[in-house]
Amino acid sequence: MPRLALLWLVVGATVFAVWLPSLGARMVAGLGATWAALSRAVGDTPEQRIQRASGISPALVAAIRAALPADGRLVVYSPYGGAEFELDGADPRGEPARQVRVLFERAKNLLYPFPRDVAFARDADELRGKIEPGCEGRLLVIDGTQEPVELTIGGRYDFVHEEPIGTAKLRLWRLRERR
């Protein structure tokens, strides 16, 4: 056998002999988490699993669907900016914008097709842009503002629901009058 062929076989066998235990050790280390996930998957109801993974409770889903007509628009809003830094995962200034996008995606995919029209806004101007003429009573805002103030951007709103998430909260507002 040519020396290079033998060398390749030896190198290949050595590589696999090193990598297999390394990957095996990592998998064994992760088995506890896998087992815990399996326990939750088997032991919890779908609603509990959805709430744990997404932060969206059955009560919030019910409140959205009760307050919003099927052709209405749901806007996930958080006034903490960060849009210009969103795509740089290492930049903490983009974290608020990333959180809004994640909540938007979860809500959109969980609720589809009631409603179909879901959007997000990371500052007041973006929210105003989502409020179109004639959308009174058909626009619902999931408001991530943590300060104890009413939502007044782009119009007057009715308070619908408050959802505690850990130490934070999400409030649900329905547009009553566009301004």
Binding site: A5, V11, G12, V42, I50, A53, V118
Partner: protein, 456 residues
Amino acid sequence: MIQFVAELLLPGWMGVVLLRAIGLRFCDDRIGYLAWMWLAGCLVIAAGLQLAMELHVPVSFRWLVPVALGGILSRIRALPYDRAASSHGRCYALFVAGGVGLCLLFVAAGMERPCIEGDEGNIWSLKAKSLLVDWPAGFAAAQVHNLHPDYPQCNPLLQVWIHLWNGAPDFVHFENRWIVQFCDVALFVAVAAALRRRLPAIAAASLSSLLLLEPEFQGLCRTAYADGMVALGLVVAVDAFLRWRDGGDRRFGWLAGLALAFALWSKNETMLYLLCAGIAAGMTRCWVAPQRGGWKRENLVLLVPAALVIANTAIWNARFGMKSDLLGANPTGKSMFALMAEQWRERVPAMFAEAASVFLSLAHAHVVFAVLLLGVVCVPRVALGQRLALPVIALLGALIGIHVVYVGSFLPLRMHLDTSYARVLFQLLPAALVLVAAIASDVVGARTAGHTAQRP
């Protein structure tokens, strides 16, 4: 119970009838057959459901069309086959059964999280739901939030199959993944069978374990991402192609054609891989004599399923106005090629560094690519010889192609790499494992033959 049978056993039955139609039986490969069966069954289901949608069959009756398609396939006169049975040995079968058990553990653990995040929620699952509640008039408009509306439909159609048995529009958010997750289980089985065909049991088991322990594989088992489907299609295509070229058994030529079609219908990257295979086929003609008839018409027929899938996806995207972000449908408005011209100085060195980092990372099994590359350098007469030149060059071309796409990506490079690089590379990893095994088998075989030849 009836629901479970319908969701997961009917695809198996449909796979059996399609494989029977091309002449393949369980005895041809008692391990590999199970993976081929699942792949073939998924093809029949997806084709049947798309047909049902095009015929405007009411939602509650759509499941009947794939079943009817299976019934028609079961009436096709099977191609002749050899009754010789293959056996992998009982110990190896037990190893594979254990591996499948581990895969099922990951599948079940995936039930912890709903299918509403990442690509599985934003691309695949969203499109599946839309195929049920927006078809056809509102379908295009509903893709406004889909990250890649131009991706092919096999994965969403498979999820539609599950939704049909669970009710719509009150969608399930966990069970819809099962049929896709089982493609990842089938991937392990297909790799185990392909490796065992070329290596002794202990070596085949070691290399198969590498796949089983790869974190990307475990992640795919938990989710409805389509990358495992691509990997399944590619590895079955490579394995069946080599079986066909080695033994001249045309049934494996058909299996390779169906597997290629499955990969093409799973995700757009396969178009790149097919292009690389075409270039490799052209290149290798310079030093490898055409085998099994080369480009003869009877061989080109084997590519009909792949051609149908390509045409179907192209017509679908034209019909609904869906374009690829690589061709300019992105916030920059520039095509991948224009962005490449702008970004190559900065990104090519970064891609080399990333490739080196991932290929040599102890946290991933992607070192297989490095071993394959080393094989091309150390044993070129085998790796680029008559038997393996085409698939090896195609795979190396595909590897280069993936990196070129990142050079021309409109997304920030770090973010794009972090969210997809190891996963997309994984699509090629099982096929690379099989090629490494084939090279090793030929090298050792040549050694044995050489020793035998020297005996008096």
